[in-house]
Structures are given as structure tokens and as C-alpha cells.
């Protein structure tokens, strides 16, 4: 796009009346040069007292929700959902709302560690040029975005290592297990899509889909559809997990099974349901003994029976495997058992059933982020000295990976570590150079929507404000460095800048049929792409899984193995509001946790009865010891957790990452050992821990009243 192309031209071109005030703006190049100006020198398109709205993509997690950002005099002042975006239909989660607290965070990295960008680009160019391609590695965030495509292209053309994507969310979602199970059952390594909204009875085995799982905004909409009592019968949600998550809190029934017995329970329900339906018992369920499963899991046979009855008799039965249920030594088996339930319900490819997620328009196949096992191997290569240069973008592995995998020490085995972090996180602190990328709201880009919508979506991003600091788009840095490095590098990235690269990719969509908009030439197409916040197909792009073999295979029902010799099962779960990168946003810190209402800290959930036996009270600091490490944190007496289980949120425990995150709470990753399931996902829920009292107390900040909710300090029972 040429620089002469002004926003005014665009308005004429796009046929949007200039009188419209709340324009969805595909502002094109104009916004690249937006300055935060005083009233005296307003950018030409800014109307005094009028807001301008820009469509972009939320970068807080990898789901890829569409945003519309309200700007005013060149400042972004509110993020709102993009109502026409198929994934979130105008809605956002709390993290999306707090994006601006990242943009305007007082602790951002404000300039490259080299002082100026010419030197920084020289450093990158030297790193590319002076090393063997095989010695150069890229580690990137979970989002399948344009930068990932750019690096992939670069790697493909030069023989560099293909970029590796990783994120703690993916680890705690056990994505690898899910897609491996899909591969085993359907013959296709895809990410399943569960149509909760169309279902009538949903059995969820540890999938915290109302919190952080896969695409929480979209799945919450599905949940609302499930419950919609006005238009159809109110749907039922049953949640199987040892600790009541916020999702289980909304369930009609919470089944606190013994951790590690999920596959037994799923198979037992399948068997009972198959019996009720009559006919031949599918092979998948034939191996399970219901009574044995009931006694091992601690779930009453009657409970299994009535759930099976509900499942068997419903026209819209759906079973979802996810979260902690898959993060165990037998996680793959759990995923297969639960997916087999869907095969029994015969819901594959039907409304209220299981689909294969729609691939994004420019995506050939599902490319999942690295599993923890793959990351372990990556770390081993780092330690061995396989990499002379490691580029890190969009991920904070020192914080996000289990401490036992020890990414931090492995960094010393790498010759040169270059971080593109926007915030001074733990990994950036260990890097040789930090060349800060823009914040998401200052950036160009696109992102593939991997799950959560029926339509294939390529979500578009554009800067909504001019960069606040002396930061630079990583794509621009790489392009410039490749040009400087010359040769294959220059040939791999023959672009003037990031926008040109984007255009080259977006242009491929112009030929696709059934798109949300059409345009005769690329400039208009690109303008629409920005204005609409992306491009998507109007048709359903989901696949129907092949059901043929799903029921016709043996699934072993076994109990998971647990590492460590403690007396408590350990359930780490992802904080809904903080997740892996929210802790530096003060308002996210001050949002109460949906289940405990704790703010600004980490807590250990423990059953009140257990605590009573151990003489532990609320706010007592305990030491949690696993085979891999120990942490100290205050106890929250949580009434909805198994007496033999303790749980801890992931999200705090930063040692860097700005004033609001640092030295606050603890990180459950410090307790996780290196145990993986068959699919290579971390068996993060497969740990046993020991609890030791410290004799100290630390008051947790709660929104709730302990007197009003728990009757604490109210005298005897009244």
C-alpha cells in the first residue's frame, strides 16, 4: 500500500460516508503515522470530540477474538468486541477488556537494548548471517499469526529450524493429547470442536471451557445456548473433576471423581448407556467393569447410572475431554474414552455434537503448538549447544514451562538469545538482547482462528494507536535484518515492510469463494480486511469426523500413575483472569477469582474437613512439596474440592514482568515434574504433594465476606 493513499481516499473508496461518526475504520497506512497530538495539531481525520473505532484482533490469548477499539484524539480508550467477528460476536473476556492496561503499562520495554534500532537490526542480521541455518532457532507464542508465517517462510527458504510455538495455556489445555486422540479415532490430527450450544446433555471431563479452555468466549456463548430455557428445553451440564472449577460451579451436577479415574468413569458411563440403548456392546466399552470403575473412582454406581441414562436418552448428548483430565499419565486414553462417548451418542458432525475445527482460510492443516515433551526436547537441544542463536517472541518460557524442565539454565547453552518481548518478563531478563515488539494494539498482523467458530476465520489486526515507545514490529526487524544479511535471507523476505508482507498473504484470500467481502484489487481488499477486522467465509468450514472406527477399537480403562509420595493429589488450574500473561495488568489483579474471589495473590485450595484434621485454618501459610520442588502459600478452605486433593491457580509467581506482577504469589509450575502422557503433554495433574505447616499466616484479599459466606467469626451456628 502506498504512502500517498490517505485515509480520506480510503473513505471514498470504501464508500463509507464521512458523516458517520462511529466508523469501523480500516485506516490503512494513515494509522501507521498516527501521532498523539495536542488539540492544536490534530491528525486530519480526527474529529474533535468524536471517537474513532478500529477493528483489530485481541492478542491476550491465542483464541483470536475480534476487537473494536475506541480511540479518542489518538489514544485508545476502550476495547470492545467486534460484533461481526464470527468467533466472539462482539463479546470479550476480562482479559480482552484489560488489554489497554498492557498498552499503557508503566513497565513496558521502551527501547531496544542496543539503544537504537539500526544497531539492533545489525545484531539480528549478524546473528542470521554468521551462523549455520541449523544453529538458528525461533521460539514463538501460541498464536498462529502472520509472524509465525513469516518466520516459517524464512526458515523454509534458508534451512533454519522451523519455528516452535509454545504457551502455558496450550500445556494446561493438553492440546496435543486432544489432537492425538482425534488422530487415533478419526484418522485426522485436528482440534475437535464441541457444539455445546446445540447440545442437550453435556458431560465435561475436566474441560474448563467457561474459563480458559481453547476459546472461552465462544464456549461461554455455547453454554448460554445450552441453558437457553426460553426457546427449548434447558440443557444439562455435568462436570467430572476433583476440584470444582468455575465451569463445574455452573454445572447442574458436579461429580468429584478420584483424579486419574476419568477414563474408567467415561467408559463405565459408555457401557451403561450402550446397555440402555440396547444392541451390540461397542468394543470400546466392552472392557470396562462398571462396579470396579465406581469403586476406584469413588463415584456411586447410581450416579453413573443416572448420568448414563441422561446421556443415553438425550437427543443431544455431548462429552468433552479437557484440562486436568488429559494432563495425566493416561490422558490420551481419557481423551479417547470421552470421544468414544460421542461416537456412542452418534453426534459426529451434527448440531450439538463433535466437529473438526474449521481451518483458517490460509491454513492447509492444523498446526498445533509444541507439547511439553517437545519443549523438553527443545530444551535438551539448547543445553547440548545445538543452537547458536535463539529468537524468542510472544512467549515467556522461563515462567510458563515447569521449573523442572529448566529453560532458564538451558539458555546459557545458547550462544546468543534475542528476545522481542514487549514487557520485561523473566525470559527477557535472561536474554542477551531485548528488541521490543509493539504492543498488540500498536501492531499489524493477522491471526488464524483455530477453534471456537464454525466459519474459517482469518482475524485481522491493525495498529489502533501509534507506538508509545521506541519499539518496532518484529516482522519489520526481521525483514530489515534479512535485507541486511542479504543472500538467501533477502530473497526469502523480499518485502519493504511488514505491511507489504501482510498484503502478500492476504492477497491469497482474494480468490477464495464465499468470503465475507469481495474486492476487485488488493488495496481495497486490504482496506476491507482492516475495516472488518479480518476475513472469513460465510459457510460452515467444520469437518465431520469419521465415525467408522471410533467405537470399534479397544480402549483400556486404567488409572493414571502419580508421581511423588505426598498424600494429596495436586490440581494446578489456570487462573481465569490472569492466565499466563495477565499478572502485569493491575485491573486483572484486582478482579476477584470467579470461584474464590481472591485478588492479587495465589492460594492453595483445601477441603475444610481435611484442613480441620491437619489443624490448618484459612490464611495459614503452608509449604507444598512435590518431587520437583516446593512453594509456600496461604490456604483457602474451599468447600468444593475432594478431601484428598489440593489445587492451585497458575498465573502469579512472577520474578520479573513489571511492578504489578513481581514477587506476588507463587507459580505451581515450580512443583511440576517431567512426566508426560503418550501424546507428549505434561502430566501436570499427575503429581502428588505433601503439605507442611509453616506456622505463618498471610491474609488473602478476598472480595467475599468470610463472615457472610462462610459464617466465620459469627459465633455458634445461628
Amino acid at each position: 500500500m502506498s504512502e500517498q493513499f490517505s485515509r480520506r481516499d480510503f473513505l471514498k473508496l470504501a464508500g463509507v460516508g464521512a458523516a458517520t461518526t462511529a466508523v469501523l475504520t480500516g485506516c490503512g497506512p494513515a494509522s501507521r503515522y498516527v501521532k498523539r497530538e495536542p488539540y492544536m495539531e490534530m491528525p486530519e481525520y480526527t474529529y474533535n470530540g468524536q471517537s474513532t473505532y478500529y477493528a483489530t484482533t485481541c492478542r491476550e490469548c491465542a483464541a483470536g477474538c475480534g476487537l473494536v477499539v475506541r480511540t479518542y484524539q489518538g489514544r485508545a480508550i476502550k476495547t470492545e468486541g467486534n460484533a461481526s467477528h464470527p468467533l466472539n460476536l462482539g463479546k470479550t473476556c476480562a482479559r480482552g477488556q484489560a488489554t489497554l492496561q498492557g498498552l499503557y503499562n508503566p513497565d513496558r520495554v521502551q527501547e531496544p537494548s542496543t539503544g537504537d534500532w539500526d544497531a539492533a537490526i545489525q545484531v539480528v542480521a549478524d546473528a542470521l548471517k554468521n551462523n549455520q541455518p541449523g544453529e538458528i532457532a525461533f521460539l514463538m507464542g501460541m498464536a498462529p499469526d502472520h509472524l509465525f508465517d513469516l518466520v516459517s517462510d524464512l526458515a523454509g527458504a534458508t534451512g533454519m529450524n522451523a519455528p516452535v510455538r509454545f504457551g502455558a495455556l496450550g500445556m494446561f489445555e493438553a492440546r496435543a493429547t486432544l489432537s492425538k486422540a482425534a488422530e487415533n479415532l478419526f484418522g485426522e490430527a485436528a482440534l475437535p470442536y464441541f457444539d455445546v450450544g446445540g447440545a442437550q446433555v453435556v458431560l465435561s471431563f475436566g474441560a474448563n471451557f467457561l474459563e480458559t479452555w481453547l476459546s472461552p468466549v465462544s464456549y461461554t456463548r455455547g453454554f448460554a445456548g445450552l441453558r437457553e430455557a426460553q426457546t427449548k428445553q434447558r440443557g444439562t451440564l455435568v462436570q467430572f473433576e476433583a476440584r470444582m472449577s468455575a465451569t463445574a460451579g455452573k454445572a447442574d451436577e458436579w461429580v468429584p471423581l478420584r483424579p486419574g479415574t476419568e477414563s474408567l468413569v467415561a467408559l463405565a458411563i459408555g457401557r451403561l448407556a450402550a446397555e440402555m440403548r440396547g444392541g451390540v456392546m461397542p468394543r470400546a466399552f466392552s472392557g470396562v467393569d462398571v462396579l470396579d470403575a465406581a469403586s476406584k473412582s469413588g463415584v456411586k454406581v447410581e450416579t453413573l447410572q443416572h448420568i448414563a441414562e441422561m446421556f443415553a436418552n438425550s437427543a443431544g448428548a455431548l462429552a468433552i475431554p479437557g484440562g486436568a483430565a488429559l494432563g495425566q499419565s493416561n490422558g490420551l486414553e481419557v481423551a479417547e474414552a470421552v470421544l468414544a462417548l460421542n461416537a456412542l451418542a452418534d453426534n459426529f458432525g451434527k448440531p450439538g455434537g463433535v466437529y473438526l475445527s474449521a481451518l483458517a482460510p490460509n491454513q492447509a492443516e492444523y498446526h498445533r503448538p509444541a507439547s511439553a515433551k517437545e519443549m523438553q526436547e527443545f530444551v535438551q537441544r539448547m543445553t547440548r549447544g545445538d543452537f547458536k542463536v535463539l529468537f524468542i517472541h510472544g512467549v515467556n518460557p522461563v515462567f510458563e514451562l515447569p521449573k523442572s524442565i529448566d529453560f532458564k539454565s538451558a539458555l546459557s547453552g545458547v550462544g546468543q538469545v534475542i528476545s522481542f518481548a514487549t514487557f520485561p518478563d523473566e525470559t527477557a531478563a535472561e536474554a542477551d538482547h531485548v528488541f521490543p515488539d509493539h504492543h498488540g494494539l500498536e501492531s499489524w498482523g493477522y491471526q488464524r482462528v483455530v477453534t471456537g467458530t464454525a466459519q474459517p476465520v482469518l482475524s485481522g489486526a491493525q495498529p489502533v494507536v501509534s507506538p508509545f515507545y521506541n519499539t518496532r514490529a518484529t516482522a519489520d526487524v526481521l525483514i530489515a535484518a534479512a535485507q541486511l544479511a542479504g543472500g538467501r535471507f533477502a530473497q526469502a523476505l523480499p518485502f519493504k515492510d511488514e505491511v507489504e508482507f501482510l498484503q502478500s498473504k492476504v492477497a491469497l484470500l482474494m480468490g477464495e469463494a464465499d468470503g465475507s467481502f469481495v474486492a476487485p484489487e488488493i488495496l481495497t481488499f486490504m482496506a476491507y480486511f482492516q475495516q472488518h477486522g479480518g476475513w472469513w467465509k460465510n459457510s460452515d468450514g467444520r469437518g465431520a469426523p469419521d465415525t467408522a472406527s471410533a467405537l470399534n477399537r479397544n480402549i483400556n480403562g486404567s488409572m493414571a500413575e502419580f508421581a511423588g509420595d505426598g498424600e494429596f493429589f495436586f490440581v494446578p488450574f489456570v487462573s481465569t483472569t490472569l492466565a499466563e500473561a495477565g499478572a502485569n495488568k493491575p485491573w486483572l489483579q484486582e478482579l476477584p477469582d470467579p470461584t474464590t474471589t481472591v485478588m492479587w495473590n495465589t492460594w492453595l485450595e483445601m477441603n475444610p474437613k481435611t484442613a480441620h484434621e491437619l489443624h490448618i485454618e484459612n490464611d495459614d501459610v503452608v509449604r507444598v512439596v512435590s518431587e520437583a520442588g516446593a512453594v509456600e502459600l496461604p490456604v483457602y478452605l474451599y468447600p468444593a474440592i475432594r478431601p484428598d486433593t489440593v489445587a492451585m491457580p497458575f498465573g502469579q509467581g512472577h520474578t520479573a514482568y513489571g511492578r504489578y506482577a513481581e514477587n506476588r504469589g507463587v507459580n505451581p509450575n515450580d512443583l511440576l515434574g517431567q512426566h508426560f502422557n503418550e501424546a507428549g503433554d505434561l502430566a501436570f495433574a499427575g503429581m502428588k504433594v505433601r503439605i507442611e505447616k509453616t506456622g505463618r499466616k498471610q491474609n488473602l484479599s478476598r472480595l467475599e465476606s468470610m463472615m457472610g459466606v462462610y459464617g466465620e467469626g459469627m459465633g455458634e451456628e445461628h
Binding site: L703, E704, S705, M707, G708, V709, G713, M714, G715, E716, H718
Partner: protein
């Protein structure tokens, strides 16, 4: 009052003299000199105590309050749901203290209770000085005290008036009225004593008393005017006094809160105010008697005995209204009120509820029945202080403790005072400081009233009986 002494003829005149100030006249000149001397006589101890209290007051009312104004009320302990804390407790407390002054002075004057004569001044000063502390407390409580003048109905361009629906506006008017009228009422009987002091002093004091005495010479006409004015004020100020604490109670009773919305709060608060006020009066009298020269002549056991009886009756009245209030709330059966009553008794500060009953009922009832104990200045002043502690607890229970419990259990939370403590201590020290200053500047004993009473009282013999007679003076 005097009638029950008729049976004690065997004690004879000397006994009566020793016992009753009214029957123990001294020459007027000598008495005037005694009062003047009690003002002039200042020991080093006085200055040490004065300096100490002044330092504490300065720290609290200047430094601590300054910090709070600069930082906001976050330095105090108030929170959601206890939006009101010790500042409001102290406001109610000090207004309560202030009640005894008017009660003793005006009601006893109206009913011609003769024993009042030597201590009306000290009691009236308590009204004014107590209200000053109440004023401080209420201003401390405000979030933006620098805009407190917005509560005044003053003419302004925007035609903005305070909200006369708000009990706080009623409060403001009632307290202001009370402060002005009680100050007037303090000043009127002070005029003859100021004139007396003017005639017996030199230097700056002469100027000071001359100015304040307003040229009073003691002519028949001046006395007649003064008596008229005092009579009008004595009658008029009684309803004002009753209204003030009733209106203070409306701050709570009008609100839609469990524990507050009680129709009996008006008289309950008035009797509570008198309870604490009387307790404070005996304590003040005992201190004055113990520390100031010649005061043992003016303030005698008979006075403590008489006030002790009043205290006992008021304590019974308070117990009745407390029980009444409790009954109404308990019998109402509202679940939130039930929670609250339970919380009062068994919550984290349940001890305070029981301590309140011990201080306000058990202690006075056990001690004040006994005439000898009652007449012991030290003992009764300790009882008076205990009653004040109990009454402070009562207000603490009504304000922050009751606020902890409401109809939204999700928000229940305890209140933990912060900077309220130094500020509250500051009001106490300032109160004492004002008294100390007053004791050196104005006659704490209304000499003319004592002399008038002594003129009216006479011992007469009827056969073998010695009888006290009082003649009508006016």
C-alpha cells in the same frame, strides 16, 4: 430534697452546716476571694499536664487530621460496609456528654432543685466543650471536609440548597441551635460572676472581664432582666436538648438498616446521653474538687450523693429503653435483624456487648444504691467513667458493629480503626484542655448563685426539731 433531713434533728446545726453548702454561708467577700483565688492559683503540675495535653492535642488535631485530609479517609479504618466508624461514635458520644450540662442546669433550675447551685457552671461548660468535640468529630468524618460549608443553607448563585430531607441536615441545624443556645445559656449566668471578677482583678484580666461582663453593675433592673432571660432560656433550651439527641438518633432510626431502623431510638438516645453526661459530670466535679483550691467548700459529698441518685434513676431508664429496643428488634423477627442481634452478642466483639451492660447497668446498680458509696467522690467518679466507657461501647455497637452486618452477606466485614484512635484521643485531650483553660479564666463556681441560695436557706427550730427552710427569692 431537703425534706428528708427533717428526721435528723439530733445532729444539730453544726451537722447541717458541715453537710450542706446552702446552710454553711461564708461572708460574700471571702467567698468571692476564694473563687478568685481558685482561678489565680496555678501550680507547676497544672502547666505540666496542660503542656502534655496541648502536645497530644496538637499532634492529633493538626498533624493526624492533616495527614488524613491530605491522604484521604483510607488512613482511617472505615470500609465497605462499615462506612461510619469511630468518628461517628465520638460524635454521638460527645453530644451525649454535652447533654448533662443542660440537663443539670436547666431542668434542675426549672424544678428549683437547690443542690444544683455550685456546679451548674461546670456542667454548662461541659455542654459547650462537648459540642466542640462533637463538631470536630463530625468534620473529621467527612470525605471532603474542605467543602463542609456546602451543608450550610447559604444563598448562592446556583440556588443550591442543602437537602432538608436528610437527617444530617436536621442534625446540622439541631446541633448548631444547641451550640448557640447553650453557649448563650452558659454566658447569661456568668455575667454577674464576670462582673465580680472584674471588680477584683487588674491588668489584662480586668480588660477581659470588663469586656465580657457587658457593664453589669448589679442594679435591680439588670438582675430582673437577667433573671427573665435566664428563665426564658432555661425553659426554651430543654426541648432543644431533647430534640438534639432525638435528631441524632434519627441519623440511624431513619435509615433502612437492620439494627438502626428502630422507633424507640429517640428516647433511647436521649436517656443514653443523660447517662453518659451525668457520669461525666461527677467525674469532672471530682477532679475539680480534688485539684482546685477551695473547691472542697463548694462541692461536697451531698452533691455527689444527689447526682448519684439521678445517675441510678437514669441507669434504670437506660436499661428500660435498652430492653425495649432489644425487644422490638427481636420480636420483629426480621432475619437480618436476627443476624445482627446474634452478631452483637456472639460476634468477634461480643464481649463489648456484655461489657456495655455491665458498665451501664450492673456497676451503677451495685454501687449507687449505697448512700455512703454514692457520696464518695472517688468511687462515684470511677462509676461515672465506667458508665462513659459503657456508653461509648453502646455507640460503637450501634455504629461500626451494626454496619458490619447488612442485607448483603457477601459484603459483611469487620471494622478495624486506624487513625481514628489518635484523633479520638485528641478530642478527649482537647476537651480537658478547654476545661483547664476555663478554670483559669472564668469562675467555675457560680458564686452569685451559691450566695443567693445561701441567702434563701435558713435553719429554724420548731420545738426540738431543726428544720431547713427555703424562701422564695424571685
Amino acid at each position: 430534697m431537703m425534706a428528708d433531713h427533717n428526721n435528723h434533728a439530733e445532729h444539730g446545726e453544726a451537722h447541717f452546716r458541715e453537710k450542706h453548702l446552702m446552710l454553711d454561708p461564708l461572708p460574700r467577700g471571702q467567698m468571692n476571694e476564694m473563687v478568685m483565688e481558685s482561678m489565680y492559683h496555678t501550680t507547676w503540675k497544672f502547666w505540666v499536664v496542660f503542656g502534655l495535653l496541648a502536645a497530644i492535642t496538637a499532634y492529633a488535631l493538626f498533624y493526624s487530621w492533616g495527614v488524613m485530609i491530605a491522604e484521604g479517609l483510607g488512613v482511617a479504618g472505615v470500609n465497605r460496609p462499615s462506612y461510619w466508624g469511630i468518628f461517628l461514635v465520638n460524635t454521638v458520644f460527645w453530644i451525649g456528654i454535652s447533654h448533662a450540662g443542660t440537663f443539670i442546669s436547666a431542668i434542675l433550675r426549672v424544678f428549683k432543685a437547690e443542690f444544683r447551685r455550685p456546679f451548674t457552671r461546670a456542667a454548662e461548660l461541659m455542654t459547650t466543650f462537648g459540642l466542640v468535640q462533637a463538631g470536630f468529630s463530625i468534620f473529621m468524618h467527612m470525605g471532603r471536609v474542605w467543602l463542609s460549608y456546602w451543608l450550610m443553607p447559604y444563598p448562592n448563585q446556583r440556588m443550591l440548597w442543602p437537602n432538608f430531607h436528610s437527617p444530617l441536615s436536621w442534625d446540622l441545624l439541631a446541633i448548631t441551635t444547641y451550640l448557640l443556645s447553650s453557649t448563650m445559656y452558659l454566658f447569661l449566668p456568668l455575667i454577674p460572676d464576670l462582673a465580680m471578677a472584674r471588680d477584683r482583678s487588674t491588668g489584662w484580666r480586668k480588660t477581659f472581664y470588663k469586656t465580657l461582663a457587658l457593664g453589669f453593675r448589679g442594679t435591680e433592673g439588670e438582675w430582673a432582666h437577667l433573671r427573665n432571660a435566664m428563665n426564658i432560656f432555661a425553659f426554651a433550651i430543654i426541648p432543644v436538648m431533647f430534640s438534639v439527641h432525638t435528631i441524632v438518633s434519627w441519623d440511624f432510626a431513619v435509615a433502612t438498616r437492620p439494627g438502626w431502623s428502630s422507633t424507640i431510638f429517640g428516647p433511647y438516645f436521649v436517656i443514653g446521653a443523660l447517662h453518659s453526661g451525668m457520669g461525666a459530670v461527677v467525674a469532672v466535679l471530682a477532679i475539680i474538687r480534688g485539684t482546685m483550691k477551695h473547691m472542697k467548700y463548694f462541692i461536697r459529698a451531698e452533691h455527689f450523693d444527689a447526682i448519684g441518685k439521678l445517675m441510678l434513676i437514669i441507669s434504670m431508664g437506660w436499661a428500660y429503653f435498652f430492653f425495649n429496643d432489644y425487644m422490638i428488634q427481636w420480636y420483629g423477627g426480621d432475619k437480618w435483624t436476627d443476624h445482627l442481634l446474634h452478631f452483637h452478642e456472639y460476634g468477634p466483639l461480643g464481649w463489648m456487648w456484655f461489657a456495655m451492660l455491665i458498665c451501664n447497668v450492673a456497676v451503677p446498680w451495685l454501687i449507687l444504691w449505697n448512700a455512703r458509696w454514692r457520696a464518695n467522690p472517688l468511687l462515684i467518679s470511677i462509676v461515672g467513667i465506667i458508665i462513659n466507657v459503657g456508653m461509648w461501647f453502646e455507640r460503637y455497637i450501634i455504629v461500626p458493629i451494626s454496619l458490619s452486618i447488612n442485607r448483603m452477606p457477601f459484603t459483611w466485614r469487620m471494622y478495624e480503626p486506624g487513625i481514628e484512635i489518635p484523633l479520638g484521643i485528641g478530642t478527649v485531650t482537647f476537651f480537658i484542655l478547654l476545661y483547664m483553660a476555663a478554670s483559669k479564666l472564668i469562675p467555675l463556681i457560680p458564686v452569685w448563685e451559691v450566695q443567693e441560695g445561701q441567702m434563701a436557706h435558713e435553719l429554724k427550730k420548731f420545738g426540738r426539731e431543726t428544720v431547713v427552710t427555703v424562701s422564695e427569692l424571685e
